[in-house]
């Protein structure tokens, strides 16, 4: 993977955690400088992602924004056929917890399997599957609440 591509994919991963472009940029800058400035030829995506994750946890633990909650049961997620604008996707993602955005990004965008995500995030495969299911349901419910309710109100 090209360095530029690696840098950008790490930025998107950081963004999935922070949902804040400035914070994601700061995390990537910190991690990149620390890991690679002296070892330009030894770049590892696994190490890069793990470091981004650790840096995020460091910062957000300090800010007490990461609160763990019990994982609910895996349940069926309904089909979602809407094509949303970037702004609408952003609003729906904003309602998700960092760990939900993280696994959805790794699964849907990076195409990692639940087992692989489990290795990256240090969780079991079934936990990862639960978070994926919960994240998707929250996203879809948020969309329905924010936009479909609005459409009904407007048209009514």
């Amino acid at each position: 993977m090209e360095d530029r591509e690696l840098l950008q994919s790490g930025y998107r991963y950081a963004l999935s955690l922070t949902h804040n472009e400035q914070d994601a940029e700061d995390i990537v800058q910190d991690v990149w400088l620390r890991l690679f400035i002296k070892n330009r030829n030894a770049k590892s995506k696994a190490l890069y992602y793990a470091s981004i994750r650790n840096r995020f946890i460091d910062i957000y633990r300090r800010k007490k924004l990461v609160v763990m909650e019990d994982i609910d049961e895996v349940s069926q997620v309904e089909q979602f056929d809407n094509d949303l604008s970037i702004k609408d996707i952003e609003k729906c993602l904003e309602k998700l917890r960092p760990e939900e955005r993280e696994v959805l990004f790794l699964n849907c965008v990076e195409e990692y399997s639940a087992s692989e995500i489990g290795e990256i995030t240090n969780q079991s495969r079934s936990t990862v599957l639960s978070i994926i299911g919960r994240g998707k349901r929250k996203f879809i419910n948020t969309y329905k609440y924010l936009f479909e309710t609005n459409i009904t109100k407007t048209s009514g």
Partner: protein, 185 residues
């Protein structure tokens, strides 16, 4: 693939780290390895030559000073938290162990004038640097000091003092190191 995944892919592929930040972090190393079609390379080369020719003619006297000052002003204005808290340079030197110089050697720049609050890694023109948060004992204001080992490019820089975006920046060289101090005006 369903539309949920497509929506997420669309969202994240629309998000990119700014070009100037990418260039800063890669320090130009990637430009050697870009794999573009031939005519793109020629077009890019022509654009780069034209840009650099005009740029050189316009800013030949102070472009490095300006870009360093701009970078320092931008970093200072972000008011990032220190990564490592420390009240003395020896302690911070142990924490910022990847620097290419000894932080304890810059004591004379702080003695009696500043209290050290902490520091973090940063970069100046793609060069690894230390960013120190200081309290000015005279004014009680928080200032930021940047220190980096001089390389060929940074060595061309002359000492300067300028105001930019509401920040006063003083840049100087001493004993093989580049210093940049930023304070709010």
């Amino acid at each position: 693939m369903n539309n949920f995944e497509e929506n997420l892919r669309k969202y994240y592929s629309s998000k990119n780290l700014r070009d100037d930040k990418v260039d800063l972090l890669l320090g130009g190393e990637n430009s050697k390895r870009m794999n573009l079609p031939g005519y793109f390379k020629y077009a890019a080369a022509v654009i780069i030559i034209i840009t650099f020719t005009f740029g050189y003619l316009q800013f030949t006297n102070n472009k490095i000073e300006l870009s360093v000052a701009k970078e320092i002003a931008m970093n200072h204005s972000k008011q990032l938290e220190v990564e490592y808290t420390a009240d003395n340079l020896n302690e911070l030197e142990n924490k910022l162990s990847k620097l290419e110089f000894k932080l304890s050697n810059i004591k004379s720049e702080l003695n009696g004038k500043y209290n050290l609050l902490g520091g973090r890694y940063c970069s100046i023109q793609g060069n690894l640097a230390a960013q120190l948060k200081l309290k000015n004992l005279l004014t009680d204001k928080i200032e930021t000091l940047y220190v980096s080992k001089l390389n060929d490019d940074l060595n061309k820089l002359s000492s300067s003092n300028m105001n930019m975006d509401g920040v006063n920046i003083r840049v100087w060289k001493k004993d093989g190191l580049l210093y940049g101090r930023a304070s709010d005006i």
